[in-house]
């Protein structure tokens, strides 16, 4: 009796619910549906997540061999890419330096240049020299001036067939005749085996000051005229001396030399002498 009554009530309740749902405006129906989704969504989310994770784990377990192999491959690839990056960076820097050297080469078109790489440094504390990878077979001669994009570096001291030694400007035995660019005073820059050079034989009445640029004077026929040698850092004047002297910061960082240019001064001088001789011959014949 009770069961039949309750079934009837349930049946009526469902019919009323269906009628209500049918009659309800669609806006309310959507809200209702979304309410139900929102109630179940946390549970659905966690079940879904767990399922995916389990699936992934199972897949990884099944394909663990492949994953390890791929991981190894990728690691090797990363290493190779990292090595490539280092090489690329190195090439970029080398490119920059070579561009600067090229600019210098183009700024002095009257001379022939030979580019060389630095392959060694002086093994003693007593001299400042470098070894380069070009020698007599490449047209380098003893005494040829050596420059870099910054300015004068030194001169060729010793020549082998394929290597040469360059005596740097900061060596005690190096000298270069210079002109102070602003005042046009002539002096001699000498190395003193440390990071600074010394400018000597500047007249007492000269108005040199820190910041003045020194260029090679061309006197002495070792270095061509007009190449930057350095910048005056400090001027000294002693009471009973005939000349002023100054400390000079070299235009080139001698510790960071990697590529240098050797000016083929020897051949240049020979050609000029030949030209002079020809002119003299022409004059005489006239």
């Amino acid at each position: 009796m009770y069961e039949r009554g309750s079934k009837k009530r349930l049946f009526f309740f469902l019919i009323i619910l269906i009628i209500i749902l049918t009659v309800l405006p669609s806006k309310w129906k959507h809200a209702f549906r979304m309410k139900i989704v929102s109630i179940f969504s946390p549970a659905m989310h966690s079940v879904n997540k767990t399922t995916i994770r389990t699936k992934d784990n199972l897949s990884a377990w099944f394909h663990s061999g492949d994953v390890k192999r791929e991981n190894k491959k990728l690691k090797i690839r990363i290493q190779s890419i990292e090595a490539d990056l280092v090489t690329l960076e190195e090439n970029k820097l080398e490119n920059q330096r070579l561009r600067q050297l090229l600019q210098l080469k183009e700024s002095i078109p009257e001379y022939q240049f030979i580019a060389a790489k630095v392959i060694g440094r002086d093994a003693t504390n007593w001299y400042k020299s470098i070894t380069i990878d070009k020698g007599l077979n490449n047209g380098i001669h003893r005494g040829d001036p050596v420059v870099s994009y910054g300015g004068v570096i030194g001169s060729v001291f010793e020549c082998g067939n394929y290597q040469s030694k360059i005596l740097l400007l900061n060596d005690n035995n190096s000298r270069v005749g210079v002109i102070v660019q602003r005042t046009r005073d002539i002096g001699v820059v000498e190395g003193q085996s440390n990071s600074l050079l010394v400018l000597n034989y500047i007249p007492r009445n000269s108005e040199i000051k820190p910041g003045d640029i020194l260029i090679s004077s061309g006197l002495g026929s070792i270095y061509p005229k007009g190449i930057v040698v350095g910048e005056i850092v400090k001027v000294f004047e002693e009471k009973y001396k005939l000349y002023k002297f100054a400390e000079v910061k070299p235009a080139v960082d001698f510790g960071k030399l990697e590529e240098v240019l050797i000016i083929n001064w020897h051949d240049h001088n020979d050609k000029e002498m030949q030209l002079d001789n020809k002119e003299e011959v022409v004059k005489v014949s006239k």
């Binding site: 440094r121 504390n125 007593w126 070894t131 060596d171 005690n172 085996s193 440390n194």
Partner: protein, 165 residues
């Protein structure tokens, strides 16, 4: 075998000296690995073999420098000879004594180079500030010699014990 290992060590040291050490300037000077090596060989063996190792080191140094070959050979051979002469007269088997010996030989070498090539005044005992480097270089050599001598001692003692002086 000792000579062979010595030659390998000599090659390694000369390569390091002419490439790596330039970038490792301490107090604007670099340690002279070949002098350190030459003094060690002299002090370990005897004056005669020290002299020959000195000649080899002199040739090596002059190959990677603009120094005059004869002068380099003379100075290094003298250094090896002096180091070898002290065998038997001092407790030269200990690393400490070898380092002290190195200090004085470096100082002698610095004075020789200074007088002949750097045109320094012979009055260097008058504490001229320009001559400070005379003491800097032996000091730097000694600092580097301590670990180097320790390694060399380990290598060479394994190969052959000290010769009786």
């Amino acid at each position: 075998m000792e000579t062979f290992v010595g030659l390998i060590l000599f090659t390694i040291l000369i390569v390091i000296q002419s490439s790596l050490l330039v970038h490792l300037n301490i107090l604007s000077y670099m340690p002279e690995l070949l002098l350190i090596f030459c003094v060690y060989m002299g002090a370990r063996l005897n004056w005669y073999r020290g002299f020959w190792w000195g000649i080899l080191c002199g040739i090596g140094v002059s190959a990677f420098s603009v120094i005059d070959l004869r002068f380099a050979i003379a100075v290094f051979a003298l250094s090896g000879l002096i180091a070898g002469s002290f065998r038997g007269t001092l407790f030269v088997d200990s690393i400490g004594i070898k380092v002290i010996l190195l200090f004085f030989i470096s100082l002698l070498q610095a004075i020789l180079f200074g007088v002949f090539y750097k045109e320094i005044s012979l009055s260097f005992f008058s504490f001229n500030p320009a001559n400070k480097y005379l003491f800097k270089i032996p000091f730097i050599n000694c600092v580097f010699a301590i670990p180097l001598y320790y390694i060399m001692e380990k290598v060479f003692t394994k190969l052959s014990p000290y010769e009786k002086s």
